[in-house]
């Protein structure tokens, strides 16, 4: 092995690190360690000049190992690896020490934080010594795409990809396309017809030569890896021929919340307490009638049902306010004399044209009442016998501070959007993760809202978090752009840090085969040893962890590297 020539760079990250970690001390402390050729610090290592500094040093000092102590490797490992590559050394000869997220930001004692930073950098120095150059590889991309979910997001993505002449498999669990939008009467804020919008789209999807629609079909299993996936589909209980594709878009959407768990609203108990989607049905049927077949004289719309309340869901469902305002227009058109009460918490009319739409509804002679969606929900109860209404809503009205009683004949609950019951199975099948609210987790909440940590799997529309139609559509198109770009390129890079079997140590026990979740390890009957398929392998290292013979090495996470890191980290603790 060549003698390591290590360059250590400590980042200030403005004041993010330098405030809590004595950057100079760290630089000085590690500068004299064996193998360390130079040790420097800079205000922003990730910036262009910062990277240039590394590149220049690699060339002029002939460095063959680089360490940057900065933020989390999840943020900038790639940035610096690229910098190393540019300077002509293998990107895997780089290591990062996380002294921001896991040090300067979480500690309050500067001495301790500095000490910890030194430990972490030494760990990295010991580790990087045993790093080996790894070669980047890429795989060809199957130009077909699997889209799960035939709602508006899924269909938009499907059309976008298919219109570029690429094949799309569109999978839908139910017997029709259109998703939730198919149930709506009008869309906000232009009050255009949702039906007239979605129907041509469905027709176009169904008749598109490049889109294959599977209705009543469930995804049973997905195997393979980015660019080369395979799936088994189940149609009406019967398994279908396997399909192959290069990318997956999950557009499984969300489902309406069931308000019967909220005791105050008596949903299920009072027949005229209905959900927003049930009201959409009434609107489409043209008749807004109570259970007794009468036109309601008083209609109340309660916002945030199941939203913004820790007991149910803490998040905001993002669209209900506007849908409720849309209802106002529709009720006013159909029932010109009815009293309409809008019981809300905060009016979230944030989108293009939304605030103007909100202002328009105020001229529809409607009464807005504000309630505290966290502490005191309105109580719906039966009216007194001599009242000329069916029900009464008792609530504390926040804008006046008065306890009021609202006569109502019909109550519309603006229900929250929540995850489907089978969402866990879906994420398991396609290999993405869920956040606490059961939404699919995107790769980065800001800069990568449609990709996931699993290569080739994208998430669009409401399954990533509640959103309205334009935002869902924009996401669908964004995912399509990504996929079209990889298809245009024809290939994508794959995992480098895979496992590898040292045949001479392998005893043929096949434990590794039993633990591999990707079936990436197989048994070579001729040689009686295990073999790793490096394209299927995702580099979890479980096989390495359980190999009794120490025959499996996880590249970039070898025993030697990790043990040395432990040594390094502990070397200064006494």
């Amino acid at each position: 092995m060549e003698e390591p020539r290590i360059g250590v760079y400590v980042c200030w990250c403005g004041t993010n690190i330098s405030k809590m970690v004595d950057v100079e001390a760290v630089t000085k402390e590690v500068g004299t360690l064996p193998g360390v050729v130079l040790s420097k610090n800079y205000k922003y290592m990730c910036s262009d000049p910062g990277q240039d500094l590394i590149i220049k040093d690699i060339k002029s000092h002939n460095l063959n190992r680089v360490i940057v102590a900065a933020c989390s490797p999840r943020i900038h490992e790639l940035t610096f690896r690229n910098a190393c590559e540019k300077a002509g050394i293998n990107p895997y000869l780089f290591e990062m020490a996380n002294i921001r997220e896991q040090d300067s930001w979480v500690h309050t004692d500067r001495t301790e934080a500095t000490k910890k930073a030194i430990d972490l950098v030494i760990g990295a120095i010991r580790r990087v010594r045993y790093h080996e150059p790894l070669q980047k590889r890429s795989v060809n991309v199957d130009p077909a795409t699997l889209i799960i979910g035939g709602g508006i997001s899924g269909m938009t993505a499907a059309l976008e990809i298919a219109n570029a002449g690429k094949k799309v498999y569109l999978l839908e669990r139910t017997d029709h396309l259109g998703g939730q939008v198919a149930r709506f009467d009008l869309t906000f804020p232009h009050l255009s017809s949702a039906r007239q919008m979605i129907r041509p789209m469905i027709q176009r999807v169904e008749n598109h030569p490049m889109i294959i629609v599977y209705l009543n079909t469930e995804l049973k299993e997905v195997s393979g890896y980015i660019g080369n996936f395979k799936a088994r589909l189940v149609f009406n209980g019967a398994e279908q021929p396997e399909i192959t594709f290069g990318n997956i878009i999950a557009a499984v959407g969300l489902k309406p919340f069931d308000p019967s768990v909220i005791a105050e609203y008596g949903y299920g108990k009072f027949p005229d307490v209905i959900t927003s989607l049930e009201f959409e049905d009434k609107l489409r049927a043209g008749r807004i009638l109570t259970k007794y077949g009468k036109e309601p004289r008083n209609v109340a719309i309660i916002h945030c049902v199941g939203s913004r309340n820790k007991q149910y869901h803490e998040y905001c469902s993002r669209v209900c306010c506007m849908v409720a305002l849309k209802f106002v227009h529709e009720i006013r058109a159909a029932l010109p004399d009815a009293n309409i009460f809008e019981i809300y918490a905060d009016m979230r009319a944030y989108g293009k044209g939304h605030e103007e739409f909100y202002a328009m509804t105020t001229h529809k002679q409607i009464i807005f009442l504000m309630y505290d969606q966290q502490k005191s929900l309105p109580l719906i109860r039966e009216a007194y016998r001599d009242d000329d209404c069916n029900m009464l809503i008792e609530m504390n009205e926040l804008l006046s501070g008065i306890d009021i009683e609202v006569p109502v004949d019909m109550v519309i609950l603006m229900v929250n959007m929540e995850a489907h019951d089978n969402v866990k199975e879906v994420v398991r099948t396609i290999g993405v993760s869920l956040c606490g609210n059961q939404f699919f987790i995107e790769k980065h909440p800001k800069l990568d809202p449609v990709a996931t940590t699993t290569g080739g799997v994208f998430i669009v529309g409401t399954c990533q978090g509640p959103k309205d139609i334009p935002d869902s559509v924009a996401q669908a198109k964004a995912a399509a752009a990504r996929i079209l770009a990889t298809i245009a390129q024809g290939s994508v890079p794959v995992e480098v840090t895979t496992a590898v079997v040292n045949e001479s140590f392998c005893c043929g026990c096949q434990t590794c085969i039993s633990v591999c979740p990707y079936s990436a390890v197989s048994f070579d009957e001729a040689k009686k040893v295990s073999v790793v398929n490096e394209v299927l392998c995702k580099g979890c290292g479980t096989c390495g962890g359980c190999c009794p013979a120490g025959a499996i090495t996880s590249k970039h996470f070898t025993d030697r590297q990790i043990l040395s890191e432990i040594e390094g980290i502990m070397s200064m603790s006494y």
């Binding site: 008083n298 009293n339 009460f341 009016m347 909100y358 202002a359 105020t362 001229h363 529809k364 002679q365 409607i366 009464i367 807005f368 009442l369 504000m370 008792e394 009205e397 804008l399 006046s400 008065i402 306890d403 009021i404 009683e405 609202v406 006569p407």
Partner: protein, 376 residues
């Protein structure tokens, strides 16, 4: 105990000039803007809220509308064109009609025909009485109307008759107004809320009533100070006139023309000037429509201004004709003056705009009582 919302109240309120108050989205800018809004007496936003919800009892128990002098800043800064200033104005009209037990106020505010009918009837009554009743009391048109006879106002309108009539009118108006104020007291202090105000507080804070009546210090708290003065001139002019005509008529309406520096004439001139100045500002502003407070004028506002102007003009005419010894002109102006003055006092003071003369200071007084109220 919850209060029932009454959306139907909207239809009632609409008749008092309130346009579309639903535009308000409760940002609170108006209340923050208003220097008169104070702890425990928040307006205009909170009153708009009560109107939106149709909480009738709460509205009727409000003193806040009377605390507003309509500078218009709230309407200017309103982000939603909800026009809180005008809403407060309309609310004052509504409250006037609520305090009035006869129901006439509501009639006058909600129907201009009714109001016009009453005004014209009273005017006609006055003219008829002059034409029919006076001659029977020994007034000879043929003789008295010639210049030789000189101007004999007291002969034309016998002072004791007019004085008696004045007193009678004042009594009627005062009893109506007082009964309305008692109702106001009942709604604001007595009926509403579980509170008690001691008699001592009633007596101790009484000075506020007088003080506010005479000076209108609240108006002067508005950011725009210009209108306080014109309003004060108008108010003081009117009050002086009212007092001298009703209480001191024999002193004021003399046959002999007194020298110019005599208090009688000086007071008369001041009152006239005050009236004219105030009227000029109000009418000119309304015609110009530059400021928000003048943008929306209810028909009752115009009627009031018109009548007051006519009263002032006819009063001036009487004076001019009299000084110049022109009996015919004097007498005709006198009849015209009375024909405007009588309906104005009878209608405006107890039932309409003029009543704020009493309601405003009383509201300040009641507000003070509320501050010292103890839970019952």
């Amino acid at each position: 105990m919850s209060t029932r919302v009454h959306p139907e109240l909207r239809n009632q309120l609409m008749q008092f000039g309130i346009g579309d108050w639903n535009a308000c989205y409760h940002c609170g800018t108006c209340t923050a803007q208003c220097p008169l809004s104070e702890e425990g007496f928040l307006f205009p936003r909170k009153k708009i809220r009560l109107m939106q919800m149709g909480l009738k009892d709460e509205l009727e128990a409000s003193v806040e509308p009377w605390l507003c002098y309509y500078c218009g800043d709230c309407s200017t800064s309103c982000p939603r064109d909800a026009n809180p200033g005008e809403l407060m104005m309309s609310l004052r009209r509504y409250l006037t009609s609520i305090y009035d037990w006869t129901g006439l106020s509501k009639k006058f505010y909600t129907s201009e025909l009714w109001e016009l009918f009453f005004i014209l009837s009273f005017a006609a009554l006055v003219v008829i009485s002059f034409l029919l009743v006076l001659p029977s009391m020994g007034f000879h048109f043929t003789r008295e109307l010639t210049a030789e006879g000189g101007v004999q106002v007291n002969a034309f309108a016998p002072i004791h008759v007019v004085e008696t009539f004045d007193w009678a009118m004042a009594l009627v108006v005062a009893s109506l107004l007082i009964s309305n104020i008692l109702r106001m007291y009942y709604k604001i202090i007595w009926k509403y809320g579980n509170m008690k105000v001691s008699l001592w507080v009633h007596i101790r804070e009484f000075w506020l009533l007088i003080f506010n009546f005479a000076v209108q210090p609240k108006f002067n708290k508005c950011d725009d100070k210009r209108y306080w003065l014109s309003h004060w001139f108008l108010m003081s002019g009117y009050t002086i006139m009212f007092i001298v005509i009703v209480v001191y008529l024999p002193w004021f309406q003399t046959e002999r023309i007194l020298p110019i520096w005599n208090p009688q004439r000086l007071l008369g001139y001041y009152a006239t000037f005050g009236l004219l100045f105030g009227l000029f500002v109000a009418i000119f502003g309304r015609l110009q429509k530059k400021e928000i407070k003048f943008l929306f004028s209810h028909i009752s506002d115009w009627l009031f201004l018109a009548m007051l102007t006519l009263t002032a003009i006819t009063g001036i005419l009487i004076h001019i004709f009299r000084i110049n010894g022109m009996p015919l002109g004097t007498y005709i102006s006198y009849i015209a003056h009375m024909a405007v003055l009588v309906p104005m006092i009878l209608i405006e003071v107890p039932f309409s705009k003029w009543s704020h003369l009493a309601y405003r200071p009383f509201a300040v007084y009641f507000q003070q009582l509320k501050k010292y109220a103890v839970p019952r």
